[in-house]
């Protein structure tokens, strides 16, 4: 049985292996880290532990979000999907959390070639749900945000 924990970023539905997900929390406070790669959203306080938060949108090179519609409270707390890999918890910032889906019976496909090549490396493949595609993330690759990563350069000021 293969279960994925699902969430959305922009219009896409993503999933990671449910066993990797430690918990999902909404947190308001985020401490930005100057000099860090742009995919690093900052640091969060998870019950007294300091966790690095990776902005999945920036990591995947997706466009910035639409301005939040005026309806409702206005301020929306980012959703942190806390993924534990090699014993270290890291937060993935996503837009909305979905449910846990059992995908053992769902047809699995290669990542569509229309997807950006750099993003394709971060995906394991896609599950064709009846109504939409569920993109399975390669958590290890996604969290491997190096200082010299192709998607993560540009903002570091060039200083001696």
């Amino acid at each position: 049985m293969r279960q994925l924990s699902t969430f959305t970023v922009g219009t896409h539905l993503f999933g990671v292996e449910v066993s990797l997900v430690q918990e999902v929390v909404r947190l308001h406070q985020m401490t930005p880290v100057p000099l860090a790669p742009p995919a690093i959203a900052g640091l969060i306080n998870l019950r007294g532990d300091v966790l690095t938060a990776v902005d999945l949108r920036a990591r995947l090179g997706l466009p910035a979000p639409e301005p939040v519609p005026a309806a409702g409270s206005g301020m929306r707390e980012p959703v942190n999907v806390v993924v534990r890999l090699d014993g270290e918890p890291v937060s993935l910032l996503v837009d909305e959390i979905g449910g846990v889906l059992d995908v053992s019976q769902v047809p699995f496909e290669q990542t569509p070639s229309t997807v950006d090549e750099r993003v394709r490396g971060l995906l394991l493949g896609a599950y064709a749900l009846p109504d939409r595609l569920l993109l399975a993330l390669n958590a290890r690759r996604v969290l491997d945000v190096g200082m010299g990563d192709a998607l993560a350069t540009g903002r570091e000021p060039a200083r001696g």
Binding site: V25, H28, T31, V33, L35, G48, D49, V50, R159
Partner: protein, 764 residues
């Protein structure tokens, strides 16, 4: 007989041996009561029994030997003399210990049938001279529960015919509380409160789960507060807001306290070392004295756990391989007794542990030969290696310098394992050695969770923390100073600080938050930092607070950014990055390995000068505070000064701080100056207490040249000094502080800033 743990068996055998010796020593002491050597020997034996029994959780044994140890410690220190009742009680204690040991041997437990309370009470009573221990009044005074005067008064009443006990009279006078008298009676009866009442054993798992729960509480608190802050209609219930505020404060406090429960002094590991050294020295035929400095240095318990074995190994090594035999030492012109020193301290956001001995030292030639023989290095490699690198070879796997396999080595832990273990927790270990003089192993251990004092600062709208160890001083850069004080030398900004040029680094530029040059000319603060023996000024927008922070390591994604030494969580739950002074300096090219800028301290030591804070006190007069006594400079609105009785006070950091006007203290004629808006304060803190000195204007920090002092009689003055070309009156801090707060020295804890103030030192 049940199977007893090997370690317990060892303990029993050794204790029996030493108890026999103890009997003989105590009897010898009766013949020769002044012999400190005999006393020290007896004390050590009991101390060891106490330590080991505590370790093995034989609490009755521990309690008994603890009281005996107290008595012996006082005897050894000469506080009391060995009298017949004392030696009898001590001999009884030896018998009682023997009885307990026998019980342990036969049943594996201490046995419940024999009661030592009477003996323990007697031993405690004998701690003091006098027929029945310390009088109750004395105990109460020492505990701070009443005053000497009240006790005198009560005694007088007793002499005048009051039949009640001293305690009852004191309670009747309202001079103390019934609870305090109860405690004092316990103390008097020799129930060691410190051991029995003031601590409990707590399961570590429980502490960890407490920590997690507090974390959850903090989270919920934060959410509640932010929900209130962003109330939709803006009309949040004010009593709810107050409750939330209170919850918030209590939560922060709770978080801090629970975090502290995880910290333990390094002594919890070190306390086993005297025994290790003693046993090993005996086995190896060495004479070794163990000295320990910085026992109170706190480490997270997980770190302590991790360093225990490596540390023990290094100490064993120091005794076994470091210290020479007594004959060899005497031949080399050293004392027969070698010294192993353990030292611990916090520095630069890390814990440093040193294990040094004054033994033979490590001969690099021998190391090189051995490494070559073992095939660990090639001859060509050796030729290019420095002495330091050669010494470092001892940490390679498969290296052992022991000429023969002793019982001591052969435990499967080599130097390579020491290094592996220390590096596994992110630390490092290195060795320095001088042939003939000894070796020092230095462990540098990341704090992980260690608590360090730090300065929180603001830059570009964000907060950062700087470990206090790298902060030398703070300089305010007001608008006018910002232009006038900062000069450009070949394009690089410098600040002229007491005639020394201080290179400046703007934090916001270094962090890439603003383009280079954008912040020039703006005001703010210069945090003068010291890194690798060099000074530079970090320009920030705001200096917020100093507080103890708990250092958290950064995740692997951010390990590659050396500017950050870690992160911490402040009381409000927000995450703040901790800056690494050395890296910041190197990044900005103001700290290099080669250049050495003389430091203030070095300059001061060279020329015998002492930095002072010069202030204007009105009437054109100037006064100087020894800089070491100045905790902070503050400006408070004149309206915030309140009067209590005939004193002026101001609310300061949650306390009421007494004020003293220097102009009044020094009898300045005429109206005090100032525009009536802000009042300049020089704050002196010691422990929790602070006093504020009202001055007219802060002029500068200057160095006072020794020898320019002249004695000038005047209240609260030590004399006068020449600073620049003006005569400045040097304040006598002790009397100035007492003028503000007569209680200050009485119960200031004597810690922190200038307890022995330079001013009073100079007067002596």
């Amino acid at each position: 007989m049940e199977a007893i743990d090997e370690i317990v068996a060892e303990f029993l055998v050794e204790s029996h041996e030493s108890l026999d010796q103890l009997d003989r020593d105590l009897l010898a002491l009766e013949q020769n009561p002044g012999s400190r050597d005999l006393l020290a020997g007896v004390f050590r034996t009991i101390h060891t029994i106490k330590g080991t029994s505590g370790f093995l959780a034989f609490h009755r044994l521990e309690e008994l030997s603890h009281v005996g140890e107290n008595l012996l410690s006082r005897l050894r220190d000469g506080g009391i003399a060995l009298t017949e009742p004392r030696s009898t009680a001590l001999l009884e204690m030896v018998d009682a210990i023997r009885g307990l040991l026998a019980d342990i041997e036969h049943t594996g437990g201490e046995g419940e049938d024999v009661d030592h309370a009477d003996l323990i009470a007697r031993l405690s009573a004998l701690l003091e001279d006098g027929p029945d221990g310390a009088p109750i009044g004395q105990v109460l005074v020492e505990a701070g529960d009443t005053t000497q005067e009240a006790v005198e008064l009560a005694r007088m009443e007793q002499r005048l015919g009051d039949q009640r006990l001293i305690g009852a009279i004191l309670v009747g006078h309202g001079a103390t509380t019934p609870a305090a008298v109860d405690d004092a009676l316990d103390t008097q009866a020799g129930l060691p409160r410190s051991v029995v009442d003031s601590s409990v054993r707590v399961d570590v798992d429980l502490l960890d789960s407490l920590m997690r729960l507090v974390g959850e509480l903090v989270l919920a608190r934060n959410q509640l507060v932010s929900r209130l802050g962003h109330g939709q209609d803006g009309s949040a219930d004010s009593s709810l807001a107050r409750s939330a505020q209170r919850l918030s404060l209590v939560t922060s406090e709770l978080q801090e306290q629970v975090m502290k429960t995880r910290m333990q002094p390094v002594d919890t590991v070190w306390s086993k070392m005297p025994r290790v050294v003693r046993d090993l020295a005996r086995t190896c035929g060495r004479q070794v004295r163990l000295e320990m400095e910085g026992r109170e240095t706190e480490l997270d318990r997980s770190v302590l756990e991790a360093i225990k074995d490596p540390l023990t190994h290094l100490v064993r090594n120091a005794v076994d391989h470091g210290i020479e035999g007594p004959e060899d030492r005497v031949r080399a012109g050293k004392a027969a007794e070698g010294v192993v020193t353990l030292r611990a301290y916090h520095e630069a956001g890390q814990v440093h542990l040193e294990i040094s001995e004054d033994g033979a030292g490590i001969d690099p030639h021998r190391i090189a030969a051995k490494a070559l023989e073992r095939g660990l290095v090639s001859r060509a490699q050796l030729a290019t290696m420095s002495t330091r690198e050669i010494l470092d070879l001892i940490f390679l796997p498969g290296f052992s310098t022991a000429e023969e396999v002793t019982t001591v080595s052969g435990r499967g832990v080599g130097m390579d394992v020491v290094r592996t273990r220390i590096e596994a927790i992110g630390g490092s270990v290195d060795v320095t050695s001088t042939v003939g003089e000894g070796s020092t192993f230095r462990l540098t251990i990341p704090l992980t969770l260690a608590i360090i004092p730090a300065l929180t600062i603001g830059s570009a709208g964000r907060r950062y923390a700087v470990p206090q160890v790298s902060v030398l001083e703070l300089v305010r850069l007001s608008g006018e100073h910002a232009r006038g004080g900062v000069e450009l030398i070949s394009g690089a900004p410098v600040y002229r600080l007491r005639d020394v040029l201080l290179p400046l680094v703007r934090l916001d530029e270094q962090l890439g938050l603003v383009p280079a040059g954008a912040g020039d000319g703006r005001g703010g603060f210069i945090v003068v930092l010291q890194a690798e023996q060099q000074r530079f000024g970090l320009v920030v927008d705001d200096v917020l607070d100093t507080q103890e922070i708990v250092v958290k390591p950064l995740g692997r994604h951010l390990k590659g950014i050396p500017v950050y030494a870690g992160a911490t969580i402040l009381g409000d739950g927000s995450v703040v990055l901790i800056l690494d002074a050395a890296t910041l300096g190197r990044r900005a090219n103001v700290v290099t390995a080669a250049a050495r800028v003389p430091t203030v301290e070095a300059a001061a030591a060279d020329e015998g000068v002492e930095p002072v804070l010069v202030v204007e006190i009105g009437g054109g007069r100037r006064a100087a505070f020894p800089l070491a006594t100045v905790t902070r400079l503050e400006e408070v609105p004149a309206a915030s000064i309140e009067r209590v009785g005939d004193r002026e006070v101001v609310q300061y950091r949650g306390h009421i701080m007494p004020l003293v006007r220097i102009s009044t203290l020094l009898g300045v004629q005429g109206e005090p100056g100032g525009d009536g808006e802000g009042v300049q304060l020089v704050v002196h803190s010691r422990g929790e207490r602070s006093v504020g000195f009202v001055v007219e204007r802060i002029v500068d920090i200057a160095t006072e040249r020794a020898g320019t002092r002249s004695d000038l009689d005047g209240q609260a003055l030590v004399g006068s000094v020449v600073v620049g070309d003006r005569v400045v009156e040097l304040l006598d801090m002790d009397s100035a502080i007492l003028a503000a707060d007569p209680q200050f020295s009485a119960d200031g804890h004597g810690q922190g800033g200038g307890a022995p103030s330079p001013a009073s030192g100079a007067r002596a």
